[in-house]
């Protein structure tokens, strides 16, 4: 008995072990060789530990940023980073094991829905499922759910999103790609549909509809090719300007003997390092689990429509991607200044979300409302994807998250469902 207790108390409570066991299960079900099972399991375990290390670095940098921002601008400045939310939830909040099991539950429920209903979408963007599992677990926990209920509810809600979002986007994806072969698997879909809706109302129609694809666009966005370089381009000025506003007197108390501007520069780089390490961990973590489970999913649902990550659709409308990035960025900058007027936190623009989510939203806007639709819709999209995460800030603060909020709007929407609907119901009983 004491052996079982030891295993339950000391081994199974470790998130890294739980995740490694999930990977092991997937590899065994795929009848991989013993060598592949062992190496895959260990790599997953390593991935989790790398992710934790990255999270520690990010939290250190964000804590510093939070302090100088509050002094510099007299309000809370929030960095939208789903990675930071995931890292903090997995480690500092101790929800890693529940998130890992919810991640598995989303996969399983997704396969069941696709197998037994007419909606054949299998969501294959592993990172996005991890972010969804993070949000349903955090907000389920916030609503008072614990243990197996937390995992099953999170798994079911996540899987419904994993099927419903590709299904809702499919009419437009079908129009863009000209086929029903593949679907969009990215948890920013409500933003895309929002842009499409705005583009429908304000865009061009019928014969007047002019696609942005008919225009030769100048410019290069090579800096975005490197995730970390693009993060640095934004974070370094952000930290330095904030430190300057905080002033040398306060900022020096944090920087010790080092010059406070130089310290801010290094802290900005530290943030990028944290994201680098964390994402390297995520890649290691998912590198074995996702191929194992997607193989199982495809076999169990042979007529599945794979829902794939957004860059797959860029070739179908490349100019709209660039236009979407630019207009969404404008929208997020406008929202950054407007939201604090209404008492909400200042959400700083996240350039990577603006590129990937904004770019894909541009495809939707252009497909529905042509150039004008894409421009007006894109700005509205930028505002929308800033507003939704801003609504979560108070809850994140109360849960102990440091200066960060989620990005992908479908996960934010799922969180709001928990916070505004499920939580009051549970608390009423």
């Amino acid at each position: 008995m004491s052996v079982i207790n030891f295993i339950v108390d000391n081994i199974l409570t470790q998130a890294s072990i739980t995740i490694a066991l999930i990977a092991m299960l997937g590899l065994l079900l795929q009848k991989k060789s013993m060598g592949q099972v062992i190496s895959g399991t260990l790599k997953t375990l390593l991935g989790f530990q790398v992710l934790s290390a990255g999270s520690g670095i990010i939290v250190g940098s964000l804590t510093y940023f939070g302090e100088i921002f509050t002094i510099g601008f007299g309000m809370q400045g929030i960095i939208p980073s789903i990675e930071a939310i995931n890292g903090q939830a997995m480690n500092e909040l101790g929800l890693g094991r529940d998130i890992a099991l919810t991640f598995l539950a989303i996969f399983v429920f997704n396969i069941l829905i696709a197998r037994f209903t007419k909606w054949k979408y299998i969501f294959l963007t592993g990172q996005a499922i991890l972010w969804m599992a993070t949000m349903t677990t955090v907000f389920g926990f916030f609503a008072g759910l614990r243990g197996i209920t937390l995992i099953l509810v999170g798994g079911f809600v996540g899987a419904v999103f994993a099927v419903a979002m590709p299904a809702l986007a499919q009419p437009i994806i079908r129009k863009v790609t000209g086929s029903n072969d593949i679907a969009l698997g990215h948890f920013c879909t409500l933003g895309y549909l929002f842009e499409a809706g705005v583009a429908k109302v304000f865009g061009e129609r019928g014969e007047n509809k002019k696609s942005i694809e008919d225009i030769q666009l100048p410019g290069s966005f090579e800096f975005l090719q490197d995730t970390y370089l693009s993060l640095m381009v934004v974070m370094v000025p952000l930290y330095i300007v904030t430190a300057a506003f905080a002033g040398s007197e306060f900022a020096s108390t944090l920087s010790g003997s080092q010059n406070y501007i130089m310290f801010a520069f290094i802290q900005a780089i530290q943030f990028v390092v944290g994201v680098y390490v964390l994402l390297a961990g995520v890649r290691l973590l998912l590198g074995e689990i996702v191929p194992a489970f997607r193989g199982i999913a495809m076999k169990l649902v042979p007529d599945a429509i794979p829902a794939l990550d957004c860059p797959v659709f860029f070739p179908y409308s490349p100019n709209a991607v660039i236009l979407g990035f630019i207009t969404t960025t404008i929208g997020t900058v406008v929202a950054m200044f407007v939201l604090p007027v209404f008492g909400l936190a200042m959400i700083l623009p996240g350039m990577l979300t603006n590129f990937f989510a904004g770019g894909t939203a541009g495809i939707f806007g252009n497909a529905v409302g042509g150039r004008r639709g894409a421009i007006i819709g894109g700005i509205a999209h930028g505002f929308f994807i800033t507003l939704l995460p801003a609504l979560l800030v108070t809850i994140f603060n109360s849960l102990g998250f440091i200066n960060a909020t989620a990005t992908d709007v479908d996960t934010v929407f799922a969180a709001l469902l928990y916070a505004w609907i499920l939580s009051p119901i549970l608390k009423a009983f």
């Binding site: 007419k118 009419p171 072969d181 666009l217 975005l224 193989g295 797959v312 070739p315 991607v321």
Partner: protein, 135 residues
């Protein structure tokens, strides 16, 4: 919401996912001739002129796909991307061919096939990302 779900199936019948090859004998002969002509052009093109070879192989792959020669089309389109990454019609066709091969593998319960083509689709995502951001 559920109404939307119902609607989504309607166009399915209107727009066949992969158009079945209903080529006449003449059309087939024309495509075969065009592929032969492209082969000659490829032979005459210098190995160092990678952009030109990429275009020629892309054209060849698209024509092979029209003839429903899936394997050959995949090989030509992959070759085109090896010479130069692009996200034109060749990319889209290759993506759709990979997906068709993935579905075939799934139907026959071929784990390795599923894995292979899913990884290929992953590679395509990377190509799309790379080419879009370096335009």
């Amino acid at each position: 919401m559920f109404g939307l779900f119902k609607n989504k199936d309607k166009p399915k019948t209107k727009e066949p996912t992969t158009p079945e090859p209903t080529l006449s004998v003449e059309e087939k002969a024309r495509l075969v001739n065009e592929i032969e002509a492209l082969d000659k052009e490829i032979e005459q093109t210098s190995e160092t002129d990678k952009p030109a070879l990429a275009v020629l192989y892309e054209k060849k792959g698209l024509k092979q796909a029209e003839l429903d020669e899936k394997e050959q089309a995949v090989a030509s389109l992959e070759k085109s991307l090896d010479y130069k990454l692009s996200i034109g019609d060749g990319y889209k066709k290759l993506m759709s061919l990979y997906n068709a091969k993935r579905a075939e593998a799934a139907r026959s319960g071929d784990d390795q096939g599923i894995d292979y083509y899913m990884n290929k689709m992953d590679d395509m995502r990377q190509i799309a990302k790379k080419v879009t951001t370096s335009r």
